[in-house]
């Protein structure tokens, strides 16, 4: 074997470790999801279809992902275009804009707790100084504002990621088509629409793919800011799985949910990848 495939001994240790840390757990997960109190069962999967909480969590995950992705994408794109067009100070601005995504998620959560606190937080403090009444503004602890508040934290933390990837895509555009558009006397908006955005398409698709995969599994920020509450106002699939497994010790059902979630995410990713390859 090693004579015909000389690279194998070099790769084998890494492959074995990864198989033990992801492939085997994945098979184990499927087994757990098919095991009930009396042996083999499909009950966990059947239960999924009747579980209203799961449907709510899934719908909120999608809503969260869609709103956050839209805001982060347009902000990231606008910032990438803006900073790229500046004559000076680009490096400094870029580094500052990237800072939020580097922080440990727990630190981001600490920061936003300090800001969102209804009584002593910086946000309501600022609004009071500007003359607003803030008694009803409870942000993460308000039923109607919790989801939006958590999304805004996500936008703060992860717009930098879109900014980074789109900046890279922007810088990879060859000079000739831009030059040609300038010679033709095209306006900025025409150049943007006909040259810049089409040239950036692979970078845009990649950025959307990577971010949407991360958004669909969102856990840290929500767990740390609201624990899914108040009520189930910010419940997401990952949080629901976490609680089912590690609060209620129902590993079989949690395993079934995460397997279904994984399959859906993988199918969505495949679809997006195919789109990228086509374009």
């Amino acid at each position: 074997m090693t004579r015909r495939i000389p690279g194998l001994p070099w790769v084998a240790p890494a492959l074995l470790v990864l198989a033990a840390l992801s492939l085997y757990p994945l098979l184990y997960l499927i087994k757990v999801s098919l095991t009930g109190a009396h042996g083999f069962t499909f009950d966990h999967y059947i239960r999924l279809f009747h579980d209203r909480l799961f449907v709510v969590a899934a719908a909120q995950t999608l809503l969260y992902a869609a709103v956050a992705l839209t805001l982060e994408f347009f902000l990231g794109l606008a910032l990438a275009l803006l900073v790229d067009s500046l004559a000076r100070g680009r490096a400094l601005i870029r580094v500052s804009l990237l800072a939020p995504m580097l922080l440990p998620p727990v630190v981001a959560a600490v920061i936003w707790r300090l800001i969102y606190n209804p009584e002593f937080g910086a946000l309501n403090g600022l609004l009071r100084q500007l003359g607003f009444h803030t008694a009803s503004l409870t942000w993460t602890s308000g039923r109607s504002t919790a989801l939006l508040s958590v999304i805004l934290v996500d936008v703060w933390e992860w717009t930098p990621f879109l900014f980074l990837l789109l900046t890279a895509g922007l810088q990879a555009i060859p000079a000739e088509p831009l030059e040609a558009a300038r010679v033709d006397g095209a306006s900025y908006w025409q150049t943007l629409r006909d040259v810049i955005l089409p040239e950036m398409k692979p970078a845009i698709m990649l950025a959307l793919l990577l971010r949407s995969m991360d958004l669909l599994r969102i856990f840290d920020q929500i767990f740390l800011l609201t624990q899914g509450g108040p009520g189930s106002a910010t419940e997401t699939v990952s949080l629901y799985i976490y609680r089912t497994a590690f609060r209620f010790s129902n590993f079989g059902y949690a395993a079934a949910m995460s397997f279904v979630g994984l399959v859906i995410t993988m199918l969505a990713a495949r679809g997006l990848m195919r789109l990228i390859r086509v374009s």
Partner: protein
């Protein structure tokens, strides 16, 4: 005028990105009475280091800090030791058909697995072998998180090296391992260092695995220790913010060191949480 507006917009974006971090730092340096002042003290207050002194006096905080250092350096080192030879093997050896590509993609696809999917079986498996609440178990899962990233990054860096030097050394009778250690390793050192930095950041920041696998105080990492503070003592802003600053500093320092490799590293490294 248009240029002025552009700079104004860029400065506003910078302020929005940095102001929350600034606020964390000022809260950590304020006396309690100033932390809760209304209106908030944006710029002028009497700074104090008492919250930092207080958290370092707590035995538990030192423990969390040490645990985080052990877990992130341990998992990074193991991932590098396993990942560099794998990357070298994939790039520099003949593989049948498109095996090299297939293996690389399979390795990377492990990075796409949502943590919430792997954590359930990992928890059950580690419980069976009594590795729950141990740093070893946490190092293990973080290796799983970082290894695909190391292989993928180092593949690129090795590919960029000229083959000729290696081939000359092989003709001189150097072994493959010798080539890797004495020729490739020194040449890819900047790339390896950048990769290591990203691994350290990922492991240092990692929250979900640590939350579930280390629930005793002796095994908790810094993020989990801080999270316990956040959810239990809502109003202890001094300890919370000082711990937050301490947890954030190494990451910012590391990131400054690896700035040049941001795009390559973060696009893959950010696949977490």
């Amino acid at each position: 005028m248009k240029v002025f507006l552009k700079y104004a917009a860029a400065l506003l974006a910078m302020a929005l990105a940095l102001a929350p971090i600034y606020w964390l730092i000022t809260i950590s340096l304020k006396r309690e009475i100033d932390q809760f002042a209304s209106p908030p003290l944006w710029f002028s207050f009497t700074p104090t280091l008492r919250h930092y002194v207080a958290i370092f006096r707590q035995a538990a905080f030192g423990r969390y800090f040490l645990n985080s250092i052990i877990v992130s350096t341990g998992s990074t080192l193991i991932a590098l030791v396993l990942g560099l030879p794998a990357a070298y093997g994939l790039v520099r050896f003949p593989w049948p058909r498109d095996w090299a590509k297939g293996i690389s993609f399979w390795i990377l696809s492990n990075r796409m697995l949502p943590p919430i999917v792997t954590i359930i079986p990992m928890f059950l498996m580690l419980r069976e072998v009594h590795l729950l609440n141990s740093l070893a178990g946490l190092i293990l899962v973080d290796v799983g998180l970082n290894l695909p990233f190391v292989v993928w990054m180092m593949r690129g860096f090795v590919e960029e090296l000229p083959r000729e030097i290696e081939e000359a050394a092989l003709l001189d009778g150097e072994s493959r391992m010798g080539v890797l250690l004495r020729i490739v390793l020194p040449l890819v050192r900047p790339g390896l260092a950048a990769t290591a930095v990203f691994c350290l950041i990922v492991a240092w920041n990692e929250f979900l695995f640590a939350l579930i696998l280390s629930q005793t105080e002796s095994a908790m990492t810094l993020p989990v220790g801080i999270a316990a503070h956040v959810t239990q003592y809502e109003i202890q802003w001094g300890a919370m913010s000082a711990a937050g600053v301490i947890a954030m500093l190494p990451v910012l320092i590391f990131a400054a060191a690896a700035q040049r490799y941001f795009v390559r590293g973060l696009s893959l490294g950010a696949l977490k949480g």
